[in-house]
């Protein structure tokens, strides 16, 4: 039973970041403009919603059983992160794709209005709300992951903590390539390191336990 639970834990902990790396590699480097194909872009951002649920679960599992304040903070930040990152995905991913897709079917004379909407979603000029959403979600992600790192400071190897921190910082810049896949690779490395090579403190306490 314990082995089965541990297997499932590792499937989630390693599977979700791996799928995120894959999603990042398939993600176009620039969002589609008028005239571009949009199906893949929309599909990737719909799929990303599943992975956002998965990321929330990964964070929950990473601090499972840890009772310090940082772990409590990490748990408390999961829901705000999930909501904010979902909003980012929905507006700057799905809505953008749908708007571009619908605009492609409009007569040429009507397309500037749709182009204006697409621009307004991210340009930040003059409307900064898209940028606030983008950086707000990124910084919330960074905050929740740094809380995880602080929570694991006594049980995970230093290398794993550094890898998780760097990965979180890089991924906060965006999930599109190259930052997204690179950041998630570092996070995957950090999780695997912490999961398979626990710190000497944890190993010795486990040995004492036996």
């Amino acid at each position: 039973m314990v082995d089965r639970r541990r297997t499932w834990r590792r499937v989630v902990l390693l599977g979700v970041p791996t799928l995120y790396v894959l999603l990042g590699l398939l993600h176009p480097t620039a969002n589609p403009e008028l005239g571009d194909e949009t199906d893949r872009f929309i599909g990737l951002h719909i799929a990303q919603l599943f992975l956002i649920v998965g990321l929330g679960f990964v964070i929950w599992l990473l601090v499972e059983g840890v009772t310090n304040r940082a772990a409590t903070l990490a748990r408390a930040l999961i829901i705000p992160f999930v909501v904010m990152y979902t909003a980012l995905d929905a507006i700057l991913g799905i809505a953008w794709g749908l708007a571009a897709e619908a605009a492609n079917g409009l007569p040429a004379a009507h397309q500037p209005g749709a182009g204006r909407l697409v621009d307004k979603l991210i340009s930040g000029d003059p409307d900064p709300r898209g940028l606030i959403l983008y950086w707000g979600a990124g910084l919330l992600w960074l905050a929740v992951m740094l809380s995880v790192v602080a929570a694991l400071r006594d049980t995970a190897p230093l290398g794993a903590l550094v890898s998780l921190s760097l990965g979180a910082a890089v991924f906060a810049l965006g999930h599109a390539p190259p930052m997204g896949p690179a950041g998630m690779c570092l996070i995957l490395l950090g999780i695997a390191w912490a999961e398979f090579r626990p710190s000497p403190v944890r190993r010795s306490s486990a040995a004492v336990g036996t």
């Binding site: 956002i52 909501v83 929905a90 409009l106 209005g113 204006r116 909407l117």
Partner: protein, 245 residues
């Protein structure tokens, strides 16, 4: 052996160790606030001018609702924890789906539509109509958006339905699990008033019944065999089952 008691087993072994006051605030305030807030849901006519006029509030309403949805998810998880079901896959998966997919739906259909029509205000009329054509189906009929709504609501129904069944099995008062069931059902009909109001209001009533029940003095554990009432004499609410202590 069955124990006679005046309330269901709740506090011991919960995941979230909250003070009574904090627990009550988290359980009661979000569903009540969201139930009241859904009454204010803007319902403009389905034409470009009406949507442009309502766009700022349309967007603002859904931004506020986005935060409230997160808080209501916390209420559901805290209530599930009272029945030791916060870690059950039905709760985690259901609330995960609800949080992400309902939020995505809310963002796209509410904030996205509002943002689009707000940006259309200073465009020529023909382009305003073109922009309206793009977003007019986002609040419900656009296939992708419809599926987001459907999956998000399914998550809510799964988590709340499971909680209603769990509350009934744990011997909760009938009113509590019936209102949890109503909360699960009514969101299927939509989140603006009246259905959203009834759904989140039902969750509030269920949480209120739960808290009223848990604030009553516990009798069961203090009862010894000698102290037990004679056979045939009822203790506590007649609808309540006696659960194992």
């Amino acid at each position: 052996m069955s124990n006679t008691q005046t309330r269901t087993e709740t506090e011991p072994d919960t995941i979230w160790h909250l003070s009574t006051r904090t627990r009550r605030v988290l359980l009661l305030a979000p569903p009540l606030a969201l139930a009241g807030f859904t009454v204010l849901h803007p319902q403009p006519d389905n034409n470009a001018q009406a949507l442009m006029d309502a766009s700022t509030w349309f967007m603002g309403f859904h931004m506020i609702q986005l935060a409230m949805v997160g808080l209501v998810a916390v209420s559901v998880v805290v209530l599930a924890d009272q029945f030791h079901r916060a870690s059950a896959w039905q709760t985690c998966f259901g609330m995960g789906l609800f949080l992400v997919y309902f939020s995505a739906y809310d963002t796209l259909a509410g904030i996205g539509t509002g943002l689009a029509m707000q940006s259309a205000r200073d465009l020529p009329t023909s382009q305003q109509e073109a922009l309206f054509d793009i977003v007019k189906d986002w609040p419900g009929l656009e296939p992708w958006v419809f599926w987001l709504s459907l999956v998000g609501t399914f998550g809510w129904v799964l988590a709340l339905g499971y909680l209603a069944v769990g509350a009934r099995a744990a011997g909760a008062p009938r009113a509590e699990w019936v209102f949890l069931g109503l909360a699960a059902f009514f969101l299927l009909l939509g989140h603006p008033a009246p259905f959203g109001t009834i759904a989140f209001g039902s969750l509030f009533v269920a949480a209120l019944v739960h808290e009223r029940q848990s604030s009553r003095p516990r009798v069961a554990r203090s009862l010894t065999d000698r102290d037990r009432p004679p056979p045939g004499e009822r203790v506590g609410h007649p609808e309540r089952r006696w659960s194992d202590g």
